[in-house]
Structure formats: C-alpha cells, structure tokens
C-alpha cells in the first residue's frame, strides 16, 4: 500500500493497475499530501464532482503517486461551503487545477495564494458553475471576454510582448505574456483556457462507448493514450479484463503513437533552428508511418481503435511483416538523421543550454513525462507500474539530466529507438484475432475507476464515476501538460525571445488537453 494513515482506509481499485482509493476528511488532506511529498511522491491530478443529488455535497478527488503506487483520495465537502485545504503549498502543480476546479464546480481551496480564474474567460459568468448538475449545458451565456490580471513586471526598460491567442504558426491557441528587457526574457506568464469546449460536461450525456470516442479527442495527438486510459478506467469499474491479444494490440498502437509524435517533433525542432532539411526528412518518415497506419488499421492517427472491452483492430501476418520492415527502415534512417543533428554545429549551438529546467526545480514543481525525464525525473509508468502487457516487455527508460532543448531531443531519440524495439517484441507476442470484441455497453452503478497510461508526452489519466443507474456522471481526463506548462514559464527565463518557439516545441505541450 502506497501510504499509511490512521484515518485512511484504502481499497485496491483494480488488479490491472497498482491503484488504491480511500475516503478521508478534509482536515486530513494536507497531512497526507505532505506525507506523500516527503516520501518523494507527486500530484497526478485534482478534480471535483457534484454529489449533492446523493446528499453527499461536493467531492474533491486528489490523485497522488509514489514509488509504490497510485492513490486517489476522495474528500467529501459540504454542499453549502465546499472548501478544502490548499494543497498547492505542497504540490505547486495543484495551483491551476484548483483554480479550474473552482471555475467549473465552485469548490474552493482555502488559504490559497492565487484565486484568479483559470479556465473561465467569460463564456459563463462568475458564480455559475458548468459542472454542477443544475447547470444547463445547452445554455448560451457568451459574454465579452473578461480581463485577466497578469502579474506585471515594473522597472526601467521593461516592456511587455503579448502573444496570442492566435499564434503565428499551425498551433493551438493560448496567450503568452512576455516581460522583456531588450531581447532577454525576464518573465513569461501563460494564460490558457481558450480551447475550453466543455468536454467534461459533454461526457455526462454520453454512453460508455460514446465516451470512448470523446476521450480519444481530448487531445488528438494522444488519442491512443486517452482511449486506453478511458478503457482501463471503464474496465476497472466493470471488473472486466480485456483479452490478451487486445492488450498487446493496445501497446502496439501506443508505441506507434509515440514514434509518430517524436518523429514529427524532431522534424520541427530542426525547422525551428532553420534546418528545414530536418523537417523534410522526419516528416517523410512520419508520413510513411501514418500511411501504414491507414492501410493496416484504417486510421492515420489510430483514433477509435481502443474501446472499453477490447480493440477494434487486428493484424495478420502480412501486417506484422509491414511493421517489422517499417521499424527496420525507421531505425536506419533515424540513426542517420541523429548523426546529422549531433554534428550540426549551428543546431547544437541553438539546442545546448537553451530552455533549461534544472533537475531540482523539476522535482520541486513536479515536471513529468518526457520533459521530466530530460531533467533527471526518472518516472515512466511503463516501467514503475507496468500494467499488462508492459510487465512482460522490460521497458528501458530514457533519461538525461541537462534539462535543456538538447536533452529533450536526446530523450526523444532514445524513446523512439526503444519504441521500435518494443514494437518488434510486441509483434512476436501478438496473436491475430478477427473476432469482434465483446464491448462494455453498460457500467455498474456507483462505480469509480481510474486508468493511467504513459502517453508520448507523459502520464495520461482518466477518472470515471458512474451514478446509481450506471451512467457516466463525471469523467475527468487529465493531461500531463497541466504539470508541465508552469515549467515552461521557468525554462524561458534569461533566454532570448526568438528562442521561445524552439523551447516551446521541445516541450510540445497540449492546449486542448489542459483546457478541456
């Protein structure tokens, strides 16, 4: 059991994942968080739900992780005064999650330092809360956007550069406020929430299978990771173990998603330092992979292939042969390109020492996923909490400790090669299965489940709650970008403004995944 506390009784949610859940009183939350922090643990996610119809007020859900496992703490809050102790003093990453929980549900972190709105810009008025059950989801309350109180840097020679929400490239919208002296960045403050499109509310009107489609569209570049995490959560509630071939297939798809995204990002990292050769080459490789996806699985990005209960994809001998050949081709080509990147003086000059996140800061603020591993944060849930079939795969984690753009590129290369190896291993174990999967059509009542998958960006988590009829009453998808966006603000300090696009791309965080 990951944590022990006299007033905390944990129950294991599923055999598939080392995850426990337990009820605690609001007064004990701070102490338990502190205990997890002291033992080297991190915050994964924080969200709230409305249980007033069951006369249980509101609920706060805090997911923590340490070396032993994942724990979800459920805290009951009063319906009249839904307040809880501010945990951002222990886990700084909680700041934006707590503000979002207020914007969406009206539950409030007491003694918090920062109560500015986060996801609400003005599409709904302050004092109304979309995720409360008495909120009308179809209501159109659009108003003019409200001002956001950025922290201002004052002093001689300081000026501000506002960027966004519409950015100068093919990229999701968000606002960045730079305070600079000359070319040098003194401070960056992000303002996100522009692509908030009501995903969590949308889930509440969906069946479990419809929800799988929506989960696959929380962040389109991580569709496999989200669909798997969602399926895992649903299967945990339904107490269903998917067939073995489905688990192997899921892992194959997840590794293909990782490789495709790393190829794309490595290409753009070249482009951002004016080596358009890199973009051209890596995107040729990515396109070849996407075309194989389309011909083998029927979708270039593998959307809707993972469903609660199983998978809707199969692979025959010829398909395996195609993937094996593709892996060999990628291995060879990416090794050539890595050699060129490593020896390109202009590129390395831009990469090395740019956008540094020191390991100490990464640990303090909870940097996770790929960016975390490039700053010596050795967490990879495929390794620590290897769920099937990763428990049979012996994943080698890629880490580096310099924490700069170069380190994040090196980790990408490392993970890419490892993913190619994993794909070959998976193919050996994958059995061809043509039979239609036995899908989960209905979940048991009053259930709660969590799924967690190491996507290419980091750990993707989905929490599902069902009501007394077994309908989806609350679904919370959590993107690792929640943790990592605040670190980007630190990474750019003292670098020059023109390096921002490069640093940003080296993280490549999701807007849609955190705006929901």
């Amino acid at each position: 059991m990951p944590i022990k506390h006299p007033r905390l009784k944990l129950t294991r949610l599923t055999d598939a994942l080392q995850v426990w859940a337990g009820e605690i009183a609001s007064d004990d939350l701070y102490e338990i968080c502190q205990q997890v922090r002291d033992s080297g643990g991190r915050l994964v996610a924080l969200w709230g739900s409305d249980a007033r119809q069951e006369n249980m007020g509101f609920k706060l859900h805090v997911v923590l992780i340490n070396e032993i496992g994942v724990v979800c703490l459920n805290v009951q809050l009063s319906a009249e005064q839904p307040v809880y102790p501010d945990v951002s003093r222990i886990f700084p990453a909680a700041n934006r999650m707590q503000r979002a929980a207020y914007d969406l549900l009206g539950i409030y972190a007491q003694e918090g330092q920062d109560h500015r709105k986060w996801l609400r810009h003005g599409a709904w008025s302050s004092g109304s809360f979309p995720l409360r059950k008495d909120f009308d989801a179809a209501a159109s309350l659009a108003q003019e956007p409200e001002d956001y109180p950025f922290l201002q840097v004052k002093g001689q020679g300081v000026h501000e550069i506002p960027v966004g929400p519409v950015h100068a490239g093919i990229i999701e919208p968000g606002h960045f406020r730079f305070s600079v002296i000359g070319e040098r960045v003194l401070r960056l403050e992000e303002h996100l929430g522009y692509v908030h499109k009501g995903i969590e509310k949308r889930f509440e009107s969906m069946t479990v299978q419809q929800g799988a489609k929506l989960a696959g569209r929380v962040s389109g570049d991580s569709t496999v990771a989200y669909a798997w995490a969602y399926a895992m959560a649903a299967e945990s509630i339904a107490k269903v173990t998917p067939p073995e071939h489905a688990l192997w297939m899921r892992a194959l798809l997840l590794e293909r998603e990782r490789v495709a995204n790393h190829l794309g990002d490595l290409g753009y990292l070249g482009n951002d330092v004016a080596l358009s050769f890199g973009f051209a080459q890596f995107w040729i490789l990515k396109e070849q992979m996407l075309r194989n996806n389309a011909s083998l699985f029927g979708h270039r990005y593998l959307m809707d292939k993972i469903v609660p209960g199983g998978v809707t994809a199969s692979l025959d001998v010829e398909g395996k042969h195609i993937i094996n050949q593709e892996c060999d081709m990628l291995e060879k080509q990416v090794r050539i390109l890595r050699g060129i990147y490593e020896e390109h003086a202009g590129m390395q000059d831009r990469f090395i020492t740019t956008g540094i996140v020191e390991p100490k800061l990464a640990a303090q603020l909870g940097l996770c996923g790929l960016a975390g591993r490039a700053s010596a944060q050795a967490w990879d849930s495929r390794v620590q909490f290897a769920c099937a079939p990763y428990d049979k795969l012996d994943v080698q984690m890629a880490t580096y400790r310099n924490g700069d753009v170069a380190a994040r590129a090196i980790v990408r290369f490392g993970e890419l090669f490892e993913s190619l190896r994993l794909q070959r291993d998976i193919l050996v174990n994958l059995i061809h299965e043509d039979e239609a999967p036995s899908l989960i059509e209905k979940l048991p009542p009053n259930g709660f489940g969590i799924g967690m998958v190491e996507g290419w960006r980091g750990e993707v988590m989905v929490g599902i709650h069902t009501d007394a009829e077994g309908n989806l009453t609350r679904v919370h998808p959590h993107d690792p970008s929640w943790q990592n966006w605040p670190l980007l603000e630190h990474a750019v300090v003292d670098d020059i403004v023109p390096d921002f696009p490069l640093i940003n791309k080296s993280f490549n965080l999701s807007y849609s995944g955190q705006d929901l």
């Binding site: 979309p130 519409v166 999701e172 919208p173 499109k197 929380v218 051209a280 060129i340």
Partner: protein, 174 residues
C-alpha cells in the same frame, strides 16, 4: 554538409500529384469573382486559426506541408498574420473563448478573402457540438466558403478543400 546532401539525394522527390478541386465541398456559392480568383491562382497566403480543435486537424495541416503533399510547391504558403492572408483555414468547434479572437482574425484579413473550415467539428460541431462552451461549426461565427469533413480529414482532402476555394474554373450557377 556532405551527409545532408547525400541524404537529400538518396531521399529523392516524394511529392505527389495534387488532387483536383471538388465542388461538393463548397458551402457558400462563390463569393469572389473569377477575375480575382485568377489572380489568387498560383499565389495564395493562408492564415491557419485553431478555434478550439483537439489538435487532430492540426496534425494533418502540418502534414500538408510535408514533402508528399508539398503545398508550398503549388505556390500556397502559411503566413504568420491574418493581414498577410488571402484565406483563413479554420478548425473547430469554435470555443466561446475563441469566438472574439476568430472574428477579429476574420476582420483583420483584407478583402477579398476566403474561409475554409476543416474537420467534422468545423463543419457541424462534431462530437463537441454546441454548448455553454462551444459555438459549434465555424459558419456559426464567420462566413465559410468551403467545408472539409473528416476526423481529421486527410491531407489530400484538406488540399482539395483549399484548391476548391481558390479554383477559378467554376463560377457558381445562378
């Protein structure tokens, strides 16, 4: 340098033949006159606006720039400001938080201008629909000339949508 040139030489030319325009993608009857479209033909600047998508459509818009589809080879390029643009490529659904930004981007684009909505969400709101947070399809917020469906649409379909919007050959029947 030798390694780069060698790799380029070995890679060869990957660019494929572009698709033909497809009138079934047209939403609005042609708003621009033939003479103007003739001028656009062969030199087109696109401003891409993500008005609330899941980032899936963006992946395919990136892909339109790769060597296989090679949109720049057709004289079409993505630009950094709406003030430089002839065409807005908009993905949806339009979130309420992006509604004003999208309208302002549209207003900042000089006339004559075209709008292509990309993806199922841009065409009809898709899986996100209309809600307290989503305005739904792009044409609920700004006028749309051509809509490209798909989740996400393939690069070929996106290219076809863009080429349909700027095709000078077909003037809408009265």
């Amino acid at each position: 340098m030798y390694q780069i040139l060698k790799q380029i030489f070995k890679t060869g030319i990957k660019t494929e033949t572009p698709p033909q325009a497809d009138e079934s993608m047209r939403v609005d009857t042609q708003r621009l006159q033939q003479a103007i479209l003739d001028t656009f033909d062969g030199a087109m600047a696109i401003r891409m606006v993500d008005a609330g998508s899941c980032n899936g459509c963006e992946l395919e818009i990136h892909a339109v720039n790769n060597a296989y589809y090679n949109i720049e080879g057709l004289g079409i390029k993505f630009v950094a400001s709406p003030r430089h643009a002839d065409l807005l490529l908009v993905t949806g659904p339009v979130s309420r938080h992006m509604e004003v930004a999208l309208k302002r981007t549209y207003d900042a684009t000089p006339e004559p201008k075209l709008v292509v909505a990309v993806g199922d969400c841009g065409c009809d709101g898709g899986i996100f629909g209309e809600s307290y947070a989503s305005c739904g399809k792009v044409s609920n917020v700004i006028p749309v000339d051509v809509a490209v469906s798909g989740c996400p649409p393939t690069p070929t379909a996106i290219l076809q949508g863009i080429l349909t919007a700027i095709s000078a050959g077909h003037v809408a029947k009265k």
